[in-house]
Symmetry: C2
Subunit: 334 residues, 2 copies
């Protein structure tokens, strides 16, 4: 059976790695992998977003792409071994730092915070890993292949918050991360937007201050240049944690301006925001953002747009990776 | 049979008004209605975007909602009569000025350029009209209902340009109108975006100059306040046609800035732009826009984004209305 995979989620097939129990026992599980610049994490998550097991390691400061992948591979193997007795892994979902591109049926990733991977063929390599594991240590597998879906971590977060977080039950919203960088994912008409290469939702390069600071991307006044930790550090010369109340409010205001533009553009009324800068700055940030939204989202369809902190905590990236997996597996947003 | 109508296209059923010929003869036709502030137009358009017949009248300067609707009704009746001998009308598609909202299964329209209609229940009224026509003058109808789909004119234009215009074959693009106002429609992942109330794509209120001119919406520095005919007239005191080269280039630059932000946000690389201001300003406008896009769309996924004039001429709104109809009828973008 070939499923009709959503645009940017490339499905790669490998033999299924069943648990030691028969298919009837335990839950169907998703092997969830979260690949970020700070940590690598793995979990077993069922269809109800329940996390049955998880583990994480610090992302090695490797300059060698293979050394880094070996850690990811080991985590995945550990997860599959842990599935025995707990349930049956039927899909693998991966959230990874962007940007990414699709090439020849696979996903290549170049996470900004993982310099060792540039154009790294993540889906192809995971596919080969699952095949190898099936041949060697997990030969009791019975089903014909483990479907694999890869998406960027901000889009995974958007799915997670809509599944069981601050956007639960919503059909139209944006989820954002305001942290080292600024990223996002958009759900519209009940669907996660992908875009030509799977990078839709990337709100960090909306221009919010045309005469503002230079952005690493080469443009000027991007939200990321003005409101990310990296941007704030660049133009103040200090860590973002040391920002005074005015700068905190300004950061909120500029995020609010971007949200208002998106609300006007896309006919949506909810932004859920996470990330160290936003959550660290707290209520002054959110109040500054909400005031700017009230000022600038004035259309019939955007009035009343609100901004709220994400609801999921530390588990959000893994729940998001699982959401990517389940969405790919079922064809529906979980 | 109840079709699963796309989000903002409310399907309203009335008896089918077949032509005088048997169903086997002639083409399947869409009764296309274009409702704008300047003109009202009607056409019979087949599945290949061929216009078999069309007529148009100047939009009456009525302050009476009913007087205006009578003209629309007469046009629709004329179109259905003209279908006899040409084919069989199987669907009605309507493009109408925004904004609009969905209420109780119907579409209410409040076109900015048609002050007589505020919260006008367009789909409900057209539905009743088709029923009435079936009972009286077109009683030879045989099929059980004429499906009706309503969408805003900028989204209809986006469908038209993707069907047979400057975005033909593209899965990810924005179509814009820079005219009295500024509107747009976005196709992403091969689908026309709707948003919560069907107003997605409304790029006119992206904020492009935070310290810019006051916008009619209540915000400041919206693209519409800076680049629409109304905006230019307001801040120069002159008709937009009298703009000098600097203002023409500035208008292009600000449109380009909005397009770059959208390209970065949504992972798309094509903007097709129509409307009297854009097309009237011509190459200087488009060059100014393209330069700004080159400066500001610098991400891996947005580099190379280009802006181009729309390809469809005067028939675009009617082809767009037909595209709304056919998309609703078949469930697929034509």
């Amino acid at each position: 059976m070939v499923r009709d995979a959503p645009q940017d989620q490339v499905e790669v097939r490998a033999p299924i790695l069943s648990s030691a129990r028969s298919p009837g026992e335990g839950s169907d599980l998703c092997l969830a992998l979260d690949i970020g610049g700070t940590k690598l994490a793995c979990a077993l998550v069922d269809r109800s977003a329940r996390v049955h097991w998880q583990d994480r390691v610090r992302t090695p400061r490797a300059t060698d792409a293979e050394a880094l992948f070996r850690v990811v591979r080991d985590l995945a193997e550990l997860g599959l071994r842990e599935a025995r007795g707990r349930g049956r892994v039927v899909v693998c979902g991966v959230g990874c730092g962007g940007p990414m591109s699709r090439r020849g049926g696979g996903v290549e990733v170049s996470p900004l915070n993982i310099p060792a991977w540039r154009g790294f063929r993540l889906s192809e390599r995971l596919h080969a890993t699952f095949e190898e594991l099936e041949r060697t240590i997990l030969a009791e597998s019975t089903a014909p292949g483990l479907p694999l879906f890869v998406d960027n971590d901000a889009k995974a977060l958007a799915l997670a918050e809509g599944w069981t977080g601050a956007a639960a039950g919503e059909r139209d919203y944006i989820a954002m991360v305001v942290s080292t960088g600024v990223g996002g994912g958009i759900v519209l008409d009940g669907r996660l937007l992908d875009g030509a290469n799977g990078n839709a939702g990337h709100i960090g390069h909306l221009i919010v201050e045309p005469e503002g600071h230079d952005c690493a991307c080469g443009a000027r006044g991007c939200l990321e240049a003005e409101a990310s930790g990296t941007g704030i550090r660049a133009f103040t010369g200090k860590p973002p944690e040391e920002a005074g109340p005015e700068l905190v409010e300004r950061t909120g205001r500029l995020v609010g301006r971007a949200v208002a533009s998106v609300a006007n553009l896309l006919d949506l009324k909810l932004a859920v925001v996470g990330g160290g800068v936003a959550l660290g700055y707290g209520s002054r940030f959110f109040l500054g953002a909400q005031r700017e939204i009230d000022r600038s989202a004035r259309l019939q369809h955007s009035q009343g747009c609100r901004i709220a902190p994400v609801a999921l905590g530390q588990e959000a990236p893994l729940v998001g990776a699982a959401a990517v997996g389940w969405q790919g597996f079922t064809g529906k947003r979980p």
